[in-house]
Amino acid sequence: MSVFTVARLTFLEARRRRLLQLVLVMGIAFVALFAAGYYLIHSESRFSIVGERLEASNILLLMGLYAANFLGVVLAVVMSVDVIAGDIASGAIQTLVTKPLRRWHVVLGKWLGLAALLSIIMTLVSASLVLVAWIISRYLPDNLPEGIALMVLAQLLVLTVSILGGTFLNTLANGIFVFMLYGLVFIGGWIEQIAAFAGNQAATNIGILISFVLPSEAIWRRASYLSQPSYLRQLNVCPFVTLSSPSPAMVVYSLLFIVVVLALAVIVFHRRDL
């Protein structure tokens, strides 16, 4: 029960700190800007053939989702980076863990609360973008539920690493740790893409290898790959279109990654002095 009490408070904290309201306002602005751009491109442009129109819709929506995914990752880091490290620094953790609960309740509770919050935000934002695209152009990406679920998964991967970092790093160091890690796999992802385009297998493998460090970018690429109409995959070369896509095994790996990293966070937090 303590896990859910901590999760509940972590969730409510976002509202108390007016983070939720801020995300809501900024999210609406983001979707509104996307809608305006999407509408203008569709109403003002002339498409000679049917395929072009579909291609434009696909690229525009993927661009929007790509931005949402990136913002989601940033949000996952910012919201979680001090959730344990900050409590340790301020001493609040001493009041918390001397209650009748176990330390893993605190780690898991904070993770659950943030995971729920981030999942809701990501689902709302990405579903809004898809809805806008559908209303304006009647374009619906393939494998929509799976795509959104994967974007949420990408966020949870980053969240979990940030929770682990918070158990042994201070807030600032943890922020640097998670963003640097994200930057590393971000570059790895691009190496993989460009190498795949150039037909360089060795460089592609290096990119794939890096994504095991933190599979969030790989998961995003799987989401974007699944959402494209199959014939476009062969046609397109643009930043938001995926050439080298991770297999379903990467999804299984990601789920295992979350379990293992969270377990590690529990162990580190359990062993340390507070």
Binding site: V6, R17, G91, Q94, T95, T98, P100, L274
Partner: protein, 302 residues
């Protein structure tokens, strides 16, 4: 059975020995004062007793269980040193959340939180955010939190820091109320007057070790001192005085002699007068806790 028990408890941080072989036990219903200068290992000891800090070696038990075990912690209240909690919470939400963690039912929390706020002098401040609270008020809300579960044991780490004289008196009264209710109180403090007026027994820490342990009477009563003010005290007379006890201080016509009990006073007076000294005063006095403290930890402050 003791409520708190430690045996050779030791904590080493890298190369600093914070607590060095601590053995003590606290009985149920006792108000136990834990004294010592800054850095003597008081807070580290409390943290080990609560499972916040893992001991390097030795053992500790709290309410018959290992420190930090949920069964024991359900009956424990703790006010940490420099208490601080999320400033965006209101007083009521803060207590409500911690009440939930204690597993206190909804109805009881609703009824109990205003009563507790009243008890610590924050009546009517349910809706205030912790960020609006002064240092003293923050300390009070922390105290309310420590009393939420009607605990059997309360750990207070410097409870009166940041409180004004009125607040200090309220905390003193609160500790007395807790004792009356049979609650065991473990009080970390370096405010000696506060300890002297509330504690049944005290331990004085020095460099991670117990330098003195017992009731205040035991600790100070063993140390009866006589201030002698007399002129013309010859070396012979001084040697005679030393036979009654130890001369601990000497300054021109003032002497301080430590004696076992006050039955020797008439004999001391007779010795001086018959020996030709002019005796102005012979004043027995019990050592105050402060005298004892200073004597035990002298040269260790900082």
């Amino acid at each position: 059975m003791p409520v708190i028990e430690t045996e050779n408890l030791r904590k080493v941080y890298r190369d600093v020995v914070a607590v060095d072989s601590l053995t003590l036990s606290v009985e149920q219903g006792e108000v136990f004062g834990f004294l010592g200068p800054n850095g003597a290992g008081k807070t580290t000891t409390v943290k080990m007793l609560l499972g916040l800090v893992h001991a390097t070696s030795g053992s500790a038990s709290l309410l018959g269980g290992k420190p930090g075990e949920p069964q024991a912690m359900a009956q424990v209240g703790f006010l940490p040193e420099h208490f601080h909690y999320h400033p965006w919470l209101t007083a009521k939400d803060f207590l409500d959340f911690h009440g939930r963690l204690y597993g206190i039912p909804d109805a009881e929390r609703r009824q109990r939180i205003p009563v507790l706020l009243e008890r610590v002098g924050l009546g009517g401040r349910e809706g205030s955010r912790l960020s609006e609270f002064s240092k003293g008020m923050t300390q009070r809300i922390g105290l309310a939190q420590a009393l939420l579960s009607r605990p059997a044991v309360v750990f207070l780490d410097e409870p009166t820091s940041g409180l004004d004289p009125l607040g200090r008196r309220q905390v003193r009264d609160l500790i007395r109320e807790l004792r009356r209710d049979g609650v065991t109180v473990f009080l970390n403090s370096h405010l000696l007057s506060e300890v002297e007026s509330t504690c049944d027994r005290v331990a004085i820490m020095r460099r991670g070790r117990v330098a003195g342990l017992g009731t205040i009477e035991e600790l100070t009563g063993m140390q009866l001192e006589v201030d002698v003010r007399a002129s013309g005290v010859t070396d012979n007379l001084r040697a005679g005085l030393a036979a009654f006890g130890r001369i601990v201080a000497e300054d021109r016509d003032r002497l301080t002699v430590q004696i076992a009990d006050d039955s020797v006073l008439p004999a001391m007076a007779a010795l001086l007068v018959n020996g030709g000294a002019h005796l102005y005063a012979l004043t027995p006095r019990r050592l105050s806790l402060e005298d004892l403290f200073v004597r035990l930890v002298e040269g260790d402050s900082g």
